[in-house]
Symmetry: C2
Amino acid sequence: MSDDLQKELGVVRDEIDAIDAQLLELLNRRARCAQQVGEIKARHGEAGFIYRPEREAQVLRRIQGLNPGPLSNENVTWLFREVMSTCLSLEQPLSVAFLGPLGSFTGSAATKHFGHAARLLPQSSIDDVFREVEAGHAHYAVVPVENSTEGAVGRSMDLLFSTPLKICGEVVLRIHQNLMTREPSLDRVTKVYSHAQSLAQCHEWLNRNLPNVPRISVGSNSQAAELAMQEAGAAAIAGEAAAERFNVPILVANIEDEPNNTTRFVVLGRFDAGISGRDKTSLIMSAPNRTGSLHNLLLPLAEAGVSMTRLESRPARHTLWEYVFFVDIDGHRDEPKVAKALAELQQQAAYLKVLGSYPAAVY
Amino acid sequence: MSDDLQKELGVVRDEIDAIDAQLLELLNRRARCAQQVGEIKARHGEAGFIYRPEREAQVLRRIQGLNPGPLSNENVTWLFREVMSTCLSLEQPLSVAFLGPLGSFTGSAATKHFGHAARLLPQSSIDDVFREVEAGHAHYAVVPVENSTEGAVGRSMDLLFSTPLKICGEVVLRIHQNLMTREPSLDRVTKVYSHAQSLAQCHEWLNRNLPNVPRISVGSNSQAAELAMQEAGAAAIAGEAAAERFNVPILVANIEDEPNNTTRFVVLGRFDAGISGRDKTSLIMSAPNRTGSLHNLLLPLAEAGVSMTRLESRPARHTLWEYVFFVDIDGHRDEPKVAKALAELQQQAAYLKVLGSYPAAVY
């Protein structure tokens, strides 16, 4: 390196060193504050409530609002996520059960929500994830609920119906689809494997780029990736993690038609969350089976001016009703407007279960 | 929550908010400095050298020296690792090939060294890891070299012999062994599977706790975990990642006899590192096959006062010499004392390859 370069770099590096010393001081002051929070709560008999989802959401939203750049909001949210996770772990290390393996989309969601200091406990089925938390072996669970790629939604919803656990958070993860194959170019691809939902997500891309190649629907994207590795001429559509797991080269990345292809996960614990200022509430309802009953059922929400962000019907099992409805609404169950609408719903619905109120996903 | 509690918490939370605003400001100032470093290097035609292993090691060591607590040195090193990783990714996102799958010990080592912002590329063999970087598909490789649990050392060493890549870093990872089984208690365990090295690491624990139970050596700890999941009465000794991968409950954690059970990895890239102030240099040497030749070979090091931290001999393949020696020494090849010793060695040895100089592991 030239002397000039060394000198110029030296100036900037001295500045970085000065910044780092300040950062270090502040991080430790923050950790002492977190300890004080723990002490105060212990003195008031609330030692079990060190992790407060609504408070974490507020901190992260505030950071995003203040962020001047050049770090992106995603960058700073991640860094503060890690700072909070580390400070919290001094007080109460959290354990999180999720649908494994490590490296799965759900694992990414768990880390995105709880940070690196949480202990991740991968489970081999969604049933096991619920069971681990219900049995007290883990503090929190993370499961997919609206999963555009793995088809796991149904099971999560069935288990939400019967679990005593509460939803205390949501995580939204951007999902990219990739065409992976051992072949060196598209013209060597003779079939494409994927889960039906993933094939549908890349429908237009396939029409344009592989118009005459058969599309074969298989049970999961992981299975598709495995087949692509084994069979000459085969390609799979799957996420990056599957390409990594089965060591199949990605030929074309990000082929999803919809640029905003996401999967939504919920975080479950023994309690739901307090009011954060931008919250959602999830419900399960059912109506007696007559025409127009759904409309009547939803009327209290409309009249109270509560917006619905999701409505999904699902054939009921082991119940008196033919359908159950999964409904997400804006607002917290403790906000007067929402509380009033829920009281009305309680009157109307044959069955109503409030799954929990929680901060809307922060990033 | 009581009003008192709310009020007390409010005071501390206000302080945290103030700290966070300062942290945010400093993090962005740091990112701007990192951008300046990039601009300065580009102006001097060194745009490819944004990542400097020796500089990162210096920053982390300084942080550890300044850290007042309550955050542990491990906590703050991790947080600054993430801060640097994020700042660097604005300039030059790094890709890192490693021995997969995700969740393996080597994956943990890669994240420990490069932070979360690096792109991890798991490979299914050590050969593939080297190849990815040699072919320019990844910037860096992470491979185990002294692996007390997976028996992968040999292949790494053979490939180090022939690769044009240079060692630019090392990572030391604490490895815990665990007894995992589907059985509810130790008295139900009728056999223990593990890799021979892992059985050896837990020899005393097994003598004390499972004295009459047969120990069966298998090819890898992963395989042992899989068998423990399949066979009634079977237990495995393996790391946490294997328990997670095969969903076998851990019955007793941290059963290794040696409390300092670690695995050492090296980071490989196209260039080695500059002087960081606390460095190592790795060499491969061979001697003509005569008695006393190893002693003669090492004499220049002893005379120059250079300490050896590791010496390992390995039967040579495809070479004229019967043995090659893998030697790690303290110090950087550009330090006069080391440079002089290496020049002497060059005279004495039938073959000498300097694999690289790099900062000693920081945490």
